[in-house]
């Protein structure tokens, strides 16, 4: 049975939270983590939809430092107010 997209989004969010400040995660990392956990019950399209949900809701943001990553919203050190 397919895992609901909302559940994937919540689980991805927890992974991002745990990795904050330690490792920058990409969309692919999150997708692979969900596939590793649920196997065929998660499609790439579902994982993509879950990431979209995280970004569009503002719970996460895209960051860029060398490569792109998905992060918790935060202010960055370089920012000039």
């Amino acid at each position: 049975m397919a895992i609901p997209v909302e559940q994937l989004a919540d689980e991805m969010y927890e992974i991002i939270k745990e990795s904050a400040g330690v490792k920058k995660l990409k969309g692919g990392d999150l997708t692979k983590a969900m596939v590793a956990k649920y196997g065929d019950e998660v499609s790439r399209a579902d994982a993509k939809a879950a990431i979209r949900m995280l970004i569009d809701s503002g719970r996460c943001v895209y960051g860029y430092f060398g490569g792109s990553s998905i992060e918790l919203p935060h202010s960055e050190a370089a920012e000039n107010k």
């Binding site: 990409k26 969309g27 692919g28 993509k48 990431i51 979209r52 970004i55 569009d56 503002g58 943001v61 895209y62 960051g63 860029y64 430092f65 060398g66 490569g67 792109s68 992060e71 935060h74 202010s75 960055e76 370089a78 920012e79 000039n80």
Partner: protein, 399 residues
């Protein structure tokens, strides 16, 4: 120009007959504090021999992970005008055709929300709007999208697909580059705006082997027009070139890289089986020679500039593909490549580096393509590598 602006080092760049970015920025310095402080900070960089920009990795517009390049001044108190100086990449039109009204529309928006400085075109192909503040990003984006414009790609995503003018004004075009660029841009909006790859992926489309977008050197995936049959020859026009005094022997025959052309009096003979489609003869004698009638594209993979690893040229992965709307065959290939690269690639690994790491044989197997002679530069001379069929035959023979 602002009266209090003193930039003796930058002024040197205004000398000479060529266009000068300093002159252009100065033209706005009287009106825009941002342009004035940009010049002042640049002058200081020239004096001190170091840059004063800080990278802003989090700035962007809601929902998009690309299209905005964040920059802050490292000296905001000294140069408050460029305290924030973010860049927006705007998805260019296919073939870079614009009306004056379209450009005016963009610049009016940019004068209102940003520095007013426009760079046409950036190396990725986009229109590049240089310099705005964080709080102006969303209003700029809103104003642009209301007029039908959109941001381009940046970061680990599909970069804005780019193409040559193609059949819009070039008779050499072997496929409709404008249509394919438009098609891919629309088909892959998610990949363009929501970074999900290991690293950037650039697609450039050139209509013929003259490769006006430099796809062979500057794109992860180059789609370069080519033909399969014989070069079309107009004998009367060849004779006209010879009669008019063109040194066909010296400029064409002797410059053919494979020596497959002969000139016999006023007649030209081409051994098309040895033609490598370099376009030289066609470029020299455009009225007499033209690409063949069976047209399509060769697809290359792997070109990149030196960032993480050294620079790479593209290698042929598909020697010939017929390209017609709705371009399903190209979509299918792109998606197979992305899926395999996504699954097995590493962070910040471009597709060319990925192929080098896993080997061409593994890559081809991974995307479901068969090896072909056109994929290699020279025949293999390593006797310790065997085709799988040989193993099978030997195994069967032993039984």
């Amino acid at each position: 120009m602002a009266d209090d602006l003193k930039t003796p080092l930058l002024d040197e760049l205004e000398k000479g007959p060529w266009p000068s970015f300093v002159k252009d920025i100065k033209s706005l310095a009287g009106k825009k504090e941002m342009a004035k402080d940009l010049l002042r900070q640049l002058e200081k960089s020239y004096e001190d021999k170091r840059g004063y920009w800080k990278h802003g990795g989090l700035v962007g517009v809601m929902g998009y992970g690309g299209g905005v390049i964040g920059r802050y001044s490292a000296l905001p108190e000294e140069f408050p005008g460029v305290s924030h100086f973010h860049t927006l990449r705007i998805n260019q039109t296919s073939g870079w055709f614009y009306t004056a009204d379209a450009l005016r529309e963009i610049l009016n928006i940019w004068e209102e929300h940003g520095s007013g400085l426009l760079n046409v075109h950036g190396s990725t192909g986009d229109l590049v709007l240089l310099g705005t503040r964080t709080e102006e990003l969303e209003p700029t984006f809103r104003a642009l999208t209301e007029k039908g414009w959109d941001l381009g790609g940046s970061g680990s995503d599909l970069r804005t697909p780019s193409c040559c003018v193609g059949p819009g004004r070039c008779e050499y075009a072997c496929y409709d580059t404008l249509s394919l660029a438009y098609n891919l841009t629309h088909a892959y909006q998610d990949e363009l705006h929501r970074p999900m790859f290991n690293y950037k992926y650039k697609i450039k489309m050139s209509g013929c082997p003259n490769d006006c977008t430099a796809a062979i050197a500057r794109s992860d995936m180059g789609i370069i027009g080519i033909w399969k049959d014989d070069i079309q020859v107009k004998p009367d026009a060849v004779a006209e070139y010879v009669d008019s005094g063109l040194d066909v022997q010296g400029l064409v025959v002797e410059n053919c890289p494979t020596g497959c052309i002969e000139l016999d009096g006023n007649e030209i003979k081409i051994d098309n089986s040895n033609c490598v489609k370099c376009m030289h003869c066609i470029n020299v004698m455009p009225k007499a020679l033209s690409p063949g009638k069976e047209r399509g594209a060769a697809i290359t993979l792997g070109a990149k500039a030196p960032i993480v690893e050294g620079a790479l040229f593209g290698s042929v992965i598909i020697p010939f593909m017929k390209l017609e709307e709705p371009f399903e065959e190209v979509h299918d290939l792109i998606e197979r490549i992305w899926e395999f690269w996504d699954e097995h690639g590493t962070n910040r690994e471009r597709i060319g580096e990925f192929i080098e790491r896993v080997s061409l044989a593994t890559f081809l197997e991974g995307i479901g393509e068969k090896p072909l002679p056109q994929m290699i530069k020279a025949p293999r001379d390593n006797p310790y590598v065997f085709y799988e069929e040989y193993y099978a035959e030997e195994g069967e023979g032993e039984k």
